[in-house]
C-alpha cells in the first residue's frame, strides 16, 4: 500500500456556474510529510482543499484523488473523514445551538465508528487545549458562533488534534492571525507531526512557514501546480513575488 495523499490530474468546476477552477492538478503528499501549497489569490488553492474534502458545490470533471492508493472521488465528505481526511476551513462555519464539545464528541464517534467514553474524549480535549494554550470555556460555547476570527482558526486546529486525521488540509489557517495566534496554531500542527500524519498547508504568505517548516513547497497558479521545491522556494516567492512564477506557468514547465 502506498501511504500518501495523491491528487492526479484533477480537473474541476463550480457545479452551479460551470466555471473551471482546477485544470489538471498533480500533487503527492506522503504520510509523515507536510507540504505547502502557495499561490496568488484565485489560483484555485482553497478550491483544491474543498474538493479533496468533498464539497458538493464543485464537480470533478477529470482526474482522481487517492488516499493510500484508494480513490475517494465517489465518497461522501463524512466517508472521506472516516478515511482519515480533515479540512481546516478557511472560513469555519457557525452552527448556533450546537455546543463545540458535544459536536466534537459526535464527530469523533462517527469517525471511529464506536462510542467514545467521556474519559477518553476529555483526555484528548485536555491535551489539545494544553498545546493550544486554551481554557475550557471554548468547549461549551456554540460551534464557532460569535467566535473571533482567531478563535475560529484555533478551534479548527483543536478539532484536528482531537480527531487525529491521517491527512489534514489546512486552508489559509494563518490568514488574519496575529503573530501570537499564528505561533499557537503552528504549535498545534507541529504537535501532530510524525510518521502517521501528513498535511497540506494552503497559504498565501510565507510567514507561517517560519513556524511550520514544510518538507516541500508547491506553487499553484491558474488551476495548476506550476513549480515545486524545498522550503527555500517559499523564501524566493517572498522576495520575488509571484510574477516570476507566472512566466513558468506561461512557458508550461
Amino acid at each position: 500500500m502506498v501511504n500518501q495523499l495523491e491528487i492526479r490530474n484533477l480537473h474541476a468546476k463550480i457545479a452551479d456556474s460551470g466555471e473551471v477552477i482546477l485544470k489538471g492538478v498533480n500533487l503527492v503528499v506522503p504520510k509523515g510529510q507536510i507540504h505547502a501549497v502557495m499561490g496568488p489569490n484565485g489560483a484555485g488553492k482553497s478550491t483544491l482543499g474543498k474538493i479533496i474534502a468533498g464539497d458538493p458545490s464543485y464537480e470533478v470533471t477529470a482526474g482522481d484523488i487517492l488516499v493510500d492508493g484508494e480513490s475517494i472521488l465517489e465518497l461522501e465528505p463524512d466517508e472521506r473523514a472516516r478515511k482519515g481526511l480533515f479540512l481546516a476551513f478557511q472560513y469555519p462555519v457557525e452552527v448556533p445551538g450546537v455546543s463545540n464539545a458535544n459536536f466534537l464528541r459526535l464527530a469523533l464517534q462517527a469517525k471511529k465508528g464506536e462510542e467514545v467514553s467521556m474519559m477518553e474524549f476529555y483526555d484528548r480535549l485536555q491535551r489539545a487545549l494544553k498545546t493550544l494554550d486554551w481554557d475550557e470555556s471554548i468547549l461549551t460555547r456554540y460551534l464557532n458562533d460569535g467566535f473571533s476570527g482567531g478563535e475560529k482558526k484555533r478551534n479548527e486546529i483543536m478539532h484536528m488534534m482531537v480527531l487525529e486525521p491521517t491527512y489534514a488540509i489546512l486552508d489559509e489557517t494563518d490568514s488574519g492571525l496575529d503573530i501570537d495566534a499564528l505561533k499557537v496554531v503552528a504549535k498545534g500542527v507541529n504537535a501532530m507531526r510524525g510518521p502517521n500524519f501528513g498535511a497540506l498547508l494552503i497559504t498565501h504568505y510565507q510567514r507561517i512557514l517560519n513556524y511550520i517548516v514544510p518538507d516541500a513547497v508547491h506553487v499553484m497558479m491558474d488551476g495548476r501546480i506550476v513549480t515545486s521545491g524545498g522550503p527555500e522556494l517559499a523564501l524566493q516567492l517572498e522576495e520575488r513575488g509571484y510574477e516570476w512564477v507566472k512566466e513558468l506557468a506561461v512557458t508550461g514547465s
Binding site: A53, G54, D78, F86, F89, G97, L106, A107, A110
Partner: protein, 469 residues
Amino acid sequence: MSDTLEIEQIGSEYKYGFVDEVKPVWKAEKGLSRRVVEAISYHKDEPAWMLEFRLKALEIYQSKPVPTWGPDLSGLNMDEIYFYAKPTEKRDATSWEEVPEEIRKTYERLGIPEAERKVLAGVGAQYDSEMVYHQVREELKRLGVIFVSIEEGLKQHEDLFREYFATVVPPEDNKYAALNSAVWSGGSFVYVPKGVKVELPLQAYFRVNTAELGQFERTIIIVDEGAEVHYIEGCTAPVYTTDSFHSGVIEIVVNEGARSRYTTIQNWPHNMYNLVTQRALVKKDAYHMWLDGNLGSKVTMKYPSSYLVEEGARSDILSIAFASSGQHQDAGGKLIFAAPHTGGSIVSKSISKGSGRSSYRGLIRVYEGAKHVKVNVECDALLINEESRTDTYPYMEIEDDTATVGHEATVSRLNDEQIFYLQSRGLPEDEAAALIVRGFIEPVAKELPLEYAVELNKLIELEMEGSVG
C-alpha cells in the same frame, strides 16, 4: 414521491401508533347534538348547573362560524366524530393495579409509571374521554396539593371549581372553546396552596385509542400566592386512516408572587386535528411560562396566551413547531398587557420539512394605561426542502407609548455550507442536518426537562432521516 405516500411512511415510523385491544364500556352515538351533551353530563352525574352551562355552550358553538383565517378545517367533519367514549367504569384509579390491564400496558409501553416513580410529582392519565389514573405524591397531598381529574375536582371541590371554571376561557371566546365547554371530558384539576413549591413536574398524559374519537379535556390549574408548579402534558394516539379530533381548554390562574410553567409535548399522529385554547391569568409579581412543542397532528391551531392583569406580572411563551409533509402547524402565542410594569417575551422556532407548512401567529396587545411594558418577540423559521413553507402573522396592538416592544423574525433554509462543514468532520448528512435542526431549537429545547429534551432530539433525528440530499 406523492404526499400521501410520504405521510404513510412517516406514520409507519410513528412509534406510538399501535392500537390497543380496548373497547369502550360506553360510547356516545356519532355526531354532536343536544342528546349527546346530555348523555355526557348524565354519565358524569353532574350538578344541574353544569348541564345548563354545557347546553348554553352548545348553542354558542352552533352560532359561531368555522374560522377561515387560519388552516384549512374543511376536512373536519363533526358528523363523523364520536364525542365521548368511556374506557372503563372506574375513574381516577390511584394505583396502576386498579387500571384495566390492557390500558395499563399501554401506559407502561409509553413509560409513564416508570417516569412517575423517577422524575414526576404526580401523574394523570387520560384514556379516550376519561382520566383512568390520577396520583400525586403523598407529601404533596399532605401539603394540600390537589391533583385529580376535572370530574373529581367538580365533585370534591365544587366551590373552588365554580370560582374558576370558565373564568379564564369563557365559552364565547372562540368556536372550539365553546365546543369544549359543551362536551368537555377529562383533564386535570390542580390546586397548589399558598407558598407550596412543587419541585418535580406534574404530568398529564393523553391517549386516544378509539378511532374517530374527539378528545376534549378541560384543565384548571390554580397556583395560589407564592406557590410554584410545573405541569406537563403529553399526547399520542394510534395511526388510523380516518381523522381524529382533539380540542382542549386549559385555564390557569397564577396568583400573586406565584410561578408556574405549562409544557406541552404534542405528538399526535398525522391524522389529528388539534385545536386547543390555553390561557393563563397572571397576577401581581407572578410569572408564567408556556413551553409549547407541536410535533404531531395534521392541523394544529394553538396560541397559548397570558393575560398580565396586575402590576409586575411576567410571562414567556416558548414555542417549537415541526411540520412535515401533510402537516400544518399554526402556532404562536398571545401576550396581553393590562397592567403597568408587566413584561414578557415570545420565542417561536418553527421547522418545515417536505411540503409541511408552519405559521407563526402571535398577538401583542398593550392596553392604554399599562405603563412601561417590556416585550420582545422573536420568531425564526427553518425550511428544510424547496417545497417547505412558512408564514408569519405578527399582530401588534400597542395603545400605550411607554411600551418597549422588540420584534425580530428570520427565515432560513437548511444551509449547505453548515452541512458540508459538519459532514467533513465525519457526521453523515442526515445526522448533520438533524444536529443543525437541534441547534436551531436549542434556545427553547434547553428549557425542557432532560427526559423530554432527549425524546425531542430522538423525534427530530427520526424526522430528519432521508430528508435532505
